[in-house]
């Protein structure tokens, strides 16, 4: 059966170049980077070289890069770390309603610890309005966290403008760039980003490793306590192969971005055009300010899981904002925040493209989906021809 993986926003395969860089670090260069002997020094060098490479790709300095176990940990560390280290200045935090749960649930937890959080609304395309952001800033606001690009609908947020507004009021600015890194050019210094989270497994790197960039001078408290790793800001024996893999993946992605983005955008727009021919179809997210790899559409009257199961039987891997496919049973908080009603949110389908997709793949989906939607509509009590 034909296999078409269209869930690159969920995770990506590890590219062969990345795996090749990691392999010798498992069996040969396996030292503990804290050891002073030859094995340890070799591991230390691998870690520090990787740090340099990551820093370079993000426009940061090596000493501003902290390795974590993933995007979730980077978000947790950024928010809790900055909140606790700066709480004497104030206890107000600004974020958006469409953040990833790693940010939202951490914010909710911080509320229980006595912080106040403003969850900014978004427009129908999922964009935070800079005016709203500015209005939300208070004298006791210490931190703002707005994602670089949304993981469900692919909308890119006005990060530079938001960071500028934050700085005008002395507010520290964090962005969850887990989905943006590798698809959007990022220069933390030029863009005024104070903290940035990223993850290895979204950019053809390994799972279980991420990065938190923290601008020099910004104070944040360690969350993982133990040894003296990562300049005492993140304890735990360094995951050297993972770190090497992440750095290699990021470098590759940065290198290939111009051509790959052009290729992805062409495929993306072809897919959107093809699926828009299905009746009662609607594109979710911003038409242009969106990630090159993201297609998110709603098909009224039906529910997402049915689409996923049907697509899966045809070898197509996709995802949905449907409640029925998430552990929580609530339909996508992102789509609801964008003003979609419950039913339309239920019927959303995310197809996220990647390096392995071809035009043939896209055409296969354009060919198969209409029948699937039609069949499910015939079963739906909401649909009347």
């Amino acid at each position: 059966m034909k296999k078409v993986y269209l869930d690159h926003a969920a995770t990506t395969h590890v590219k062969s170049e990345v795996l090749a860089a990691m392999l010798p670090v498992f069996g040969q260069s396996f030292g503990n980077a804290s050891s002073i002997h030859a094995y340890g020094r070799e591991a230390r060098k691998l870690v520090e070289d990787s740090r340099e490479r990551v820093a370079k790709a993000l426009g940061a300095k090596a000493e501003e890069i902290y390795f974590t176990s993933g995007g979730t940990e980077a978000d947790n560390l950024a928010l809790k770390g900055v909140a606790f280290a700066n709480q004497k200045k104030g206890k107000h935090i600004i974020t958006s309603a469409i953040e990833h749960h790693a940010v939202l649930h951490t914010c909710q937890w911080l509320e229980k610890q006595g912080f106040e959080v403003t969850y900014l609304p978004v427009d129908e395309y999922g964009r935070v309005r800079v005016e709203d952001f500015e209005k939300a800033i208070r004298p006791d606001t210490i931190l703002a966290s707005i994602m670089f690009a949304n993981n469900e609908v692919g909308t890119i947020e006005p990060i530079e403008a938001l960071a500028k507004a934050a700085h005008a009021h002395g507010v520290i600015f964090h962005t969850d760039a887990v989905q943006a890194v590798g698809q959007v050019e990022i220069d933390v210094e030029k863009m005024g980003i104070d903290l940035l989270s990223m993850s290895g497994h979204k950019i053809y790197g390994p799972k279980g490793v991420g990065v938190l960039y923290v601008k020099k001078g910004i104070r944040f408290e360690a969350q993982m306590l133990g040894g003296e790793h990562e300049r005492r800001h993140r304890a735990g024996t360094e995951n050297v192969p993972g770190i090497v893999g992440l750095a290699t993946a990021l470098e590759l992605a940065t290198e290939q971005m111009p051509q790959e983005n052009a290729r992805l955008i062409a495929l993306r727009d072809r897919l959107i055009a093809g699926l828009s021919k299905i009746p009662y179809a609607k594109l979710n997210g911003h038409p242009t300010q969106r990630l090159p790899n993201n297609v998110n559409m709603s098909f009224s009257f039906i529910e997402g899981e049915g689409m996923l199961l049907s697509l899966d039987l045809m070898g197509i891997a996709a995802s949905s904002g449907s409640a029925c496919t998430s552990g929580s049973l609530d339909p996508s908080h992102v789509l609801l925040a964008m003003g979609l009603n419950h039913e339309t949110a239920h019927g959303s389908l995310r197809l996220s493209l990647g390096s392995d997709n071809t035009q043939e793949d896209i055409d296969y989906v354009i060919d198969k989906l209409p029948g699937i939607v039609e069949r499910l509509r015939q079963m739906s009590p909401l649909y009347t021809e």
Binding site: E303, L309, C324, H346, P381
Partner: protein, 125 residues
């Protein structure tokens, strides 16, 4: 995730559709996930001679409706009322824990259709 039986009922659902002038119609919404299920029954001599369903919901909800309609077709009203969501799950060869409520939806839709039939029936007689 799903058993083969669930996938079979999802892909080849039995009794999809509506019954015009049905003797009973049950429509229930799933408070948990916001899904909707509608069951239509045709009753003759206290026996369900035809049944159809329409479902807006996940694969488990569709499969549950399908198998539930199959289970009650040809049964008397009393026999149909004895059907529980546990029996639906069993007939499907099991459901994931988070999908148990979808089978409850089917049981509820069924009962609601029978209630509706009884209400209509009593008024008529």
């Amino acid at each position: 995730m799903y058993t083969e039986k669930v996938m079979d009922h999802f892909m080849n659902p039995r009794n999809v559709g509506e019954i015009e002038n049905a003797d009973g119609v049950g429509e229930v919404g799933n408070a948990k996930c916001g899904d909707i299920m509608k069951i239509f029954i045709k009753v003759e001599d206290e026996r369900i001679v035809d049944v159809k369903f329409k479902t807006f919901g996940c694969g488990a909800a569709i499969a549950s409706s399908s198998v539930a309609t199959e289970m009650i077709k040809g049964k008397t009203i009393d026999e149909a009322l004895a059907i529980t969501n546990k029996m639906v799950i069993e007939a499907l060869g099991g459901l994931p824990d988070v999908k148990i409520h979808c089978s409850v939806l089917a049981e509820e839709a069924l009962r609601s259709a029978i209630e509706d039939y009884r209400k209509n029936h009593m008024q008529k007689s």
